[in-house]
């Protein structure tokens, strides 16, 4: 997988694979206006884990938003992160967390963050307002909060793409089978809807067909998950390691973690 996508902007049919690395590169090579847009795009993608980390560090909402802005402006866009990315291109999640920790623990930066920016902030926070930020257990560390929010954002993106991929191609029943048999039982702790009932509800010919649809949807889920994770790692082999590490990190949070409304 290419780490730095050197595709030039502007070609009508040109594919531009969006990875954090390509976004960073793009943000650093464009003129001021376009650069601002690129930074906003980065912020839109990665603000949740940063914000969650800062809240867990004890910052109130306004402080956390302010520091999130400051972090993306001065660190993500700044020379430091880009140079680190060049050396450590395999681990964007770790890189971001390490840089964030350094940013917050730097008293000077933290204290002067507000003073450096205009009142409205250079980086837009429009995308932040109105979104729910995943909150882990009350005893979670800032790092756990970061990983938790990262995984949540990752899975939301994957599920969103999975749903759109089916609904946009007239195969919404695949999504519905996946939702009823896998997604909601896992996320909400509800019993899977029995296949015969699901078939009747969705107009599927037989439970066997529904079962096959579920296998197909799971395979697609996996494929999309790997694509999304692949944006943050260096090569194919690292994708499984990254998923395993996220599973491990989430598992370590303990069964009491999370504000689970469904027990």
């Amino acid at each position: 997988m290419p780490q730095y996508d050197h595709t030039e902007m502007g070609g009508q049919n040109e594919q531009f694979e969006t990875t954090p690395w390509s976004e960073l590169l793009r943000a650093r090579t464009l003129d001021t206006d376009h650069r601002q847009a690129a930074v906003n795009q980065l912020l839109g993608r990665y603000w949740k884990p940063v914000y969650a980390y800062l809240r867990r560090k004890g910052k109130n909402n306004e402080e956390a938003k302010d520091l999130t802005q400051g972090f993306f402006e001065t660190v993500v866009l700044g020379r430091d992160l880009f140079q680190q990315a060049d050396r450590q291109k395999g681990r964007f999640r770790t890189l971001l967390l390490t840089a964030l920790d350094r940013y917050v623990t730097s008293d000077y930066r933290a204290r002067t963050a507000q003073k450096r920016r205009p009142e409205e902030g250079v980086v837009s926070l429009d995308g932040i307002e109105g979104h729910r930020v995943p909150e882990p257990a009350d005893n979670a560390t800032p790092e756990q909060a970061f990983h938790y929010a990262w995984a949540s954002a990752l899975l939301d993106g994957v599920l969103d793409e999975l749903r759109r991929s089916y609904e946009g191609t007239g195969r919404a029943a695949y999504w519905e089978v996946f939702r009823a048999r896998t997604l909601e039982p896992i996320l909400d702790g509800v019993e899977p809807i029995p296949l015969p009932e699901l078939c009747e509800h969705l107009g599927i010919d037989s439970p066997a067909q529904a079962s096959n649809m579920l296998v197909t949807a799971k395979r697609r889920f996996r494929s999309i998950l790997r694509t999304h994770v692949g944006r943050f790692v260096e090569d194919e082999a690292d994708i499984d390691r990254e998923i395993d590490e996220l599973i491990e990190l989430l598992s370590q949070a303990g069964p009491a973690g999370g504000r689970d409304r469904h027990g």
Partner: protein, 165 residues
């Protein structure tokens, strides 16, 4: 983008990630168990998966066996009961943490292997399971085609011992 996963417990999200991982068909109990058996029985938390890291304490009981793999400890006749009990506790915690069926199966095999090693090598039962339940568990595992021969042989002897009571 919908906030579908916000506020769900970390374990639920791990389970969902596990669906993506498991559907790969890349994991099997055989490979998961092989990885467990090949891992060094380090007394220190040398890696996140090491016994000391998983159990959250230094494993002094393993210090005398430093340099050996977990598989070697299970099959060596001179492995002491304390080390086997630690491996059993380690496996139990791995079962609790497992997000994939393959990992759960492998950890369960490790759990019974430690118990079987204690029963065969020392004539001691290091579990609260009674002999009947132990025999049932061992029989269930012995039916699995992915169980390596060295563990299967030991478990078969342990099963026979547990059936004798």
């Amino acid at each position: 983008m919908a906030d579908r996963t916000a506020d769900r417990s970390p374990h639920r999200m791990a389970d969902l990630l596990g669906v993506g991982r498991e559907a790969a068909g890349l994991d099997s109990p055989a490979t998961a168990l092989a990885a467990l058996l090949e891992a060094p029985a380090s007394p220190e938390p040398a890696s996140p998966a090491a016994p000391a890291a998983v159990l959250g304490r230094p494993c002094h009981e393993l210090r005398a066996h430093a340099g050996k793999s977990i598989g070697e400890l299970l099959t060596a006749p001179d492995t002491d009961l304390a080390a086997l009990a630690t491996l059993k506790d380690y496996a139990k915690e791995l079962v609790r943490r497992a997000r994939l069926d393959s990992q759960r199966s492998a950890a369960t095999a490790l759990y019974y292997a430690a118990i079987a090693a204690a029963l065969v090598g020392h004539g001691r039962r290091i579990t609260s399971y009674d002999m009947g339940k132990l025999a049932e568990g061992l029989a269930d595992l012995l039916a699995r085609p992915w169980l390596p021969p060295e563990l299967a042989g030991m478990m078969a002897r342990a099963r026979a011992a547990s059936e004798r009571g």
